[in-house]
Symmetry: C2
Subunit: 562 residues, 2 copies
């Protein structure tokens, strides 16, 4: 009986930002916290999304009691459309998160039998031998919670994504009383958000952005176009408030911004006097100094409304004119820096004045900095500590912070996805260092990432493809005609002609003096590949992918091999 | 005679960081300032380097009097190996720059007749109707200069890349006396570095890094591995000084770091007591707390020494062990953020303690911030102003600064590459808005960027290539056998088989019921492409590049078309 130990199994979100997913296992019960996605980098060309590898859970399906969602950001809910068809377990989410989950499931065309339970701060969810209690935390989307998880072995606290904000705009402030009471009882394990663990000091309050936006709008002579994250409802509320204060109307562009704002207005997360939000017809008749445009595109996403404006897309409903002020009320997510810079430059080229976070405090982020992390540690006083949600260096920094706050050297664990940590009453041990795989979604396909496939794509993108077709006479085993060469993405048209002609002769020569063995397709393939590849590297230092196609022709049968 | 006007023609470096190159033209004379390269982004797959389009100069070859180099960074000299074979004009460079140019020319295997003239602060170079006077500026490489260019129409000042550093480590401090004297005489035009024009305040002095490095080295119990730009000789000097002070020896790894350090030691730009730099054999026998390793890799370059260490490359001479401290004495160049983050994380995973610019002041950059830019403007007091060296938004910011410093509204010009500005005595006009093309270098090829080619490469990298071969009977105009399908980079092997089988049947069906027209290869190609492309998009939402290969076979002749 007492041999059972609590297992902590991060399936995503540790060592890389995104696709957050954490499993806790005790005896016959497993609960899962969050199921997020991650957007890919140029390292994984052709991949649309990355999601956690859930084979650990699929193998232990009958133990799984439920998935508890901390908040509605895509890196916490976005894997549900792929997870639920394989694991139809109950989901527990707060209201705003549940609305967003429904949107995700609908967008991906997923129907599921999984029950979507509505919970909120104060809810207690019994899941086998676990009881999960929710407490409110402040982050950058409404209805965020942290979790107090009562396990047979002690209390586990999961921070969710959080910051400490005493003057939040929409969130409820992080619920300290509940946490401080726990500290006195004794907490076994704290799992805490590490995204900004390398930043000293405190994260500023969302409230400070109001002042900056107010100043910008009051001074602007023309339209003010503001872009932010569609789900950053508190920022959208501040924009609505500023619009009302300075007598402007708000026109919303961009699919996700419209969808989430409509949902939030309907459900009461956003409030504005009637007439604040205007239609396209109204927009056209309003003087520019009575207008705020609220837009998607804060990350420079190529198909977003703001980028269409920046690129003078004729299909964009809003076109930039000199006198416009554009406010980028967001910072680039790591990896998006170049897209955002390019968008900013294009907006300046169109004659807009662009205000971004380097120039004014038009954004604050939603994660705790070091002093806030210490505050949580000091209240919860956990015996064990596992930093979550962050790149590897953030986890290391956070573990160090925890040690300075009294967690024993050996009790702070920097884990990675797929590791298995087993906690006894006094000591913990990483019993498996299995880096979890990552699953990808490309179009309508999903599966394991195939490194050879990605390497082919990288080669293709560098140097293109060269297809060489040769016809072999089935009777004489000799070439029946000149090889044909077709290329895509290889070199520009000017350079191509002479390379192709020389390549043809080369293939001809390579195949000709060994006529006897041309019956062996593998031999012919290799000859073509080797001779052409050597030639192209010597001539132009490029290594395209070479695809030989050998067509065998004869009186009786024609066969293509490759 | 007086109809002649001074023309300012930026060929590179305006609107994008890198490949800096500026031409000034008056009557029968053209001079060029710098000839730099730029490293490409993921937007230009397969491209190794980008260099300015010099067709404007090639068309006016007989007017070209010389190329004056402001300093030896690659974004100012790196295009010379491609420019000089087409324009064998004299080059004027300071000593350190000239050494680096020689290295570049040698690496690219370029022999040139162009004369490489050695100049320095105080030199006066007569180039047709221009006289170019050099003054020292401080930046982040030795021997940087700005230019005072006497033209028949007035004085032009070119800042080079500069900062104001009163306690520089190697550079000479920026030469203010010379500049202030000019202001009194009257300056026609200032061309000034905009790289950091969005940063308020002053850029810190290079000297402050010494203190941080000293503290880190004195506290480290094990080895200290420091990475920085190979050409940042002042930083290398600080590392040598710290090593001497704390009784450590320096081992240098990485080709470019070794090359430049050796050159700088030989030429006296770097100084160290004998025995400071140690060999690999010495390194192996030294206790860890007596060692500093100086390494390339500050930008996370995949083949650099530091990245090899981070990835436990068995061929790396230095392997990370717990107890090592790694100092990243640089910040990521825009676009390199992800590479640097990944390297940092990998170093932490190996057990190193990593110190980077977010955690301590281990780097200062080499460009002027707003207050320094104002200082230059206030001394030079130009009538006209053109911001140079920066992305578009930096140029806009810098032009604004200039206006606040007294340059007339219409006399500050935000130009882009390929524009032609003509200056009269009182007013200027942009007489051509021809965005200059960009030339690329890929392997041994160079030419104009071909957008269709790049788009093909992007498609290939997303969804791969599908080659469909069909054999057509030349006599009956019917298919002679089943179509063959080969793919690369398309989908993983598991998904491929069934898609290929279905695709084969589909192509068969598409070609079969229209047998009469199969004689027209264009028709066959289109049928294959359309039917397969539609099928694959419907089935898996992907759009690979489809290459049909039609082989015509018959009694008399076999011909492949495509």
């Amino acid at each position: 009986m007492s041999k059972q130990k609590l297992r902590v199994i991060p399936l995503g979100g540790l060592g890389e930002i995104g696709k957050n997913m954490m499993a806790l296992e005790y005896g016959n019960d497993i609960i899962v916290i969050d199921a997020g996605l991650m957007f890919p980098s140029e390292e994984t060309p052709g991949v649309d999304l990355l999601i956690p590898d859930i084979s650990y859970l699929v193998e232990r399906k009958q133990k799984l009691r439920g998935i508890v969602i901390t908040h509605g950001h895509e890196d916490h809910i976005g894997a549900l459309p792929y997870v639920l068809p394989r694991l139809a377990v109950p989901v527990y989410a707060t209201r705003f998160a549940r609305e967003l989950i429904m949107v995700e499931l609908k967008q991906r065309g997923v129907k599921t039998d999984a029950k979507m339970n509505l919970v909120g701060p104060g809810s207690k969810i019994r899941l086998g031998s676990f009881t999960v209690e929710l407490f409110s935390v402040c982050h950058s989307i409404p209805d965020c919670v942290g979790l107090i998880i009562h396990t047979p072995q002690g209390i586990v606290v999961h921070s969710g994504d959080f910051k400490v904000d005493h003057t939040p705009v929409i969130c409820e402030a992080t619920s300290f009383n509940q946490l401080a009471a726990l500290g006195a009882k004794g907490v076994l394990l704290l799992l805490s958000d590490s995204t900004y663990a390398e930043l000293p000091g405190y994260t500023p309050s969302e409230g400070v952005v109001s002042d900056t936006l107010g100043r910008i709008v009051s001074e602007a002579k023309g339209r003010v176009i503001i872009t932010t994250f569609a789900s950053l409802t508190s920022r959208v509320q501040q924009v609505l408030d500023v619009a009302v204060k300075y007598g402007r109307k708000v026109f919303i562009v961009g699919r996700s911004m419209k969808e989430i704002a409509n949902m939030a207005l309907k459900t009461g997360y956003l409030t504005a006097p009637p007439g604040t939000i205007c239609s396209f017809d109204e927009l056209k008749s309003l003087p520019h100094n009575r207008v705020i445009v609220l837009s998607t595109g804060s990350q420079g996403e190529p198909t977003s409304a703001l980028v269409r404006m920046a690129n003078r897309d004729p299909k964009s409903r809003v076109q930039i004119v000199p006198g416009d002020t554009v406010v980028i009320s967001a910072t680039p997510i790591p990896g998006n820096e170049t897209l955002v810079s390019r968008t900013t430059d294009s907006l300046f080229r169109q004659g807009a004045d662009v205000i971004y976070s380097r120039l004014a405090q038009v954004h604050v982020h939603g994660h705790a900095s070091q002093e806030e992390l210490k505050l949580l540690l000091s209240m919860v006083k956990p015996r064990f500590f596992v930093p979550i949600h962050g790149e590897y260096r953030h986890l290391v920094m956070h573990a160090r912070l925890a040690r300075t706050m009294g967690v024993a050297e050996d009790n702070a664990f920097v884990l990675e996805d797929g590791d298995v940590l087993e906690l006894g009453p006094d000591s913990g041990e990483v019993v498996a260092r299995g880096h979890a795989g990552v699953s990808y979604v490309s179009g309508l396909m999903a599966g394991e990432l195939d490194e050879a496939l990605l390497e082919d794509r990288r080669s293709l993108s560098r140097d293109g493809v060269v297809v060489v077709t040769v016809a072999l006479d089935g009777g004489s085993r000799r070439l029946a005609g000149k090889p044909r060469i077709v290329t895509r993405g290889f070199v520009d048209a000017g350079a191509e002609q002479s390379l192709i002609e020389k390549g043809q002769n080369l293939v001809l020569a390579a195949l000709d003096h060994d006529g006897g063995r041309l019956g062996d397709p593998g031999f012919v393939d290799a000859r073509i590949r080797d001779s052409l590849s050597k030639f192209l590297y010597e001539r132009i230092h490029r290594r395209p992918i070479i695809i030989p196609v050998v067509v065998e022709v004869g009186k009786d049968r024609t066969k293509a091999t490759s």
